[in-house]
């Protein structure tokens, strides 16, 4: 029993750690392709549509990441009132954000290849 909760905890922790960076990368990716500023729900919907129902990250967890990307200057945002609901914050990518995306994507590919190579190697043993 104790063992099971420990594994669960470890899974959760790993999941959390791996998500924290990838969410930022994914958000930059979405916004770099957007032709006009997008608000939170649009971004969430876009991610949902392109991820084949694999919900790696809760929509609610995207917002703090958007905010943190904005505070580090990679995104910028503007609040616009909507007709019926609350005002919406529209995000768009900055020049710095595009640069960061290029570098992050490279780091991502390298990391992915590296981890894949190691895991495949482990399987062959």
């Amino acid at each position: 029993m104790g063992n099971l909760t420990d594994t669960n905890k470890a899974n959760k922790k790993f999941n959390k750690e791996i998500k924290s960076g990838t969410a930022a990368l994914a958000l930059l990716g979405v916004l770099s392709r957007a032709t006009e500023p997008m608000y939170g729900y649009q971004i969430a919907k876009h991610i949902e549509a392109s991820s084949n129902d694999v919900t790696l990250i809760k929509q609610g967890a995207l917002y703090p990441v958007l905010r943190s990307l904005e505070s580090s200057g990679l995104l910028e945002s503007e609040v616009e009132p909507s007709i019926s609901g609350p005002p919406r914050r529209y995000y768009s990518i900055t020049e710095g954000g595009r640069e960061a995306l290029g570098e992050w994507a490279e780091i991502w590919t390298q990391t992915k290849d590296f981890v894949d190579a190691i895991l495949e190697g482990a399987n062959n043993d």
Binding site: Y39, G40, A44, A61, Y63, S68, P87
Partner: protein, 296 residues
Amino acid sequence: MIESVDEYLALLKEELEASDPATIQDALSDAEEHLRTVLEIELELHDDLSESEALPPIIVKYGTPEETAQAYKEIEARIPPALAQQKDVSGRSAISRFFSVISEPRAWGALLYMFFSIIAGLIYFTWAITGLSLSMSLMILIIGIPFLILFLVSIRTIALVEGRIIEALLGVRMPRRSVFTPTRVGWWEQLKSLFLERRTWGGIAYMLVQLPLGILYFTIFSVLLALSLGFILVPVSELGFHSPLFVINNTAYHSPIWLMPFVVIAGFIIFLATMHLAKFIGRMHGSLAKSLLIGI
């Protein structure tokens, strides 16, 4: 089972209880924006659904209040406000801590704020007094009421702007976006919340108190800066321009050469102490702003 957006927000607020009030305000407005937007769309698609029926699947995708709170807490822990990155100084001696203030962006920011606050104080005070007295006196006529409402709405915007300035200069975390006022509820409810919320009256109190505080800050820091700069520049003024250190009863006193290095050093020390004082007062002012401008 969570049956309404308001209930979700209340639970989220509870989960975030120990967090910074500014984080709470941000998290609540994000959640509100998302949930209400999706709910609107769902309700339009399915006429027969009620809010309590439509909400659960939306929350499953958005995350429970607990999960959402967790996400904000993690990010908040990683990203301190702009000038708040404080190096760990606990291991260093008191003397090196005293001198290292010169390289702290927060101390420079606070010093700048001390001079800025008098201008802001003047504008805020004038705005608040004009708004209050005009709406009170126009209250005899019916036009006083819309005037008062307009004035109270302006207070919220000013509070947000002042918060951004405080976060930038003093490094105290303040709300990064305005609080959402629901448009689904009637105008009467909105009016009531405008009058009843602590935030509105706290904002007015802050605007009034900013003037005396601004004057105080400005006076203290002008005197201290003038004093320290005067001391530091003693060799230039006395040797270069032959102006005396001070004049009493028409007798000019010059400082002897041997004293000058000490005067200059004293000037630097006063300057560093001034920066420490600015940092300290900045922190105090930040917590005052926090308690008055954030209405959670």
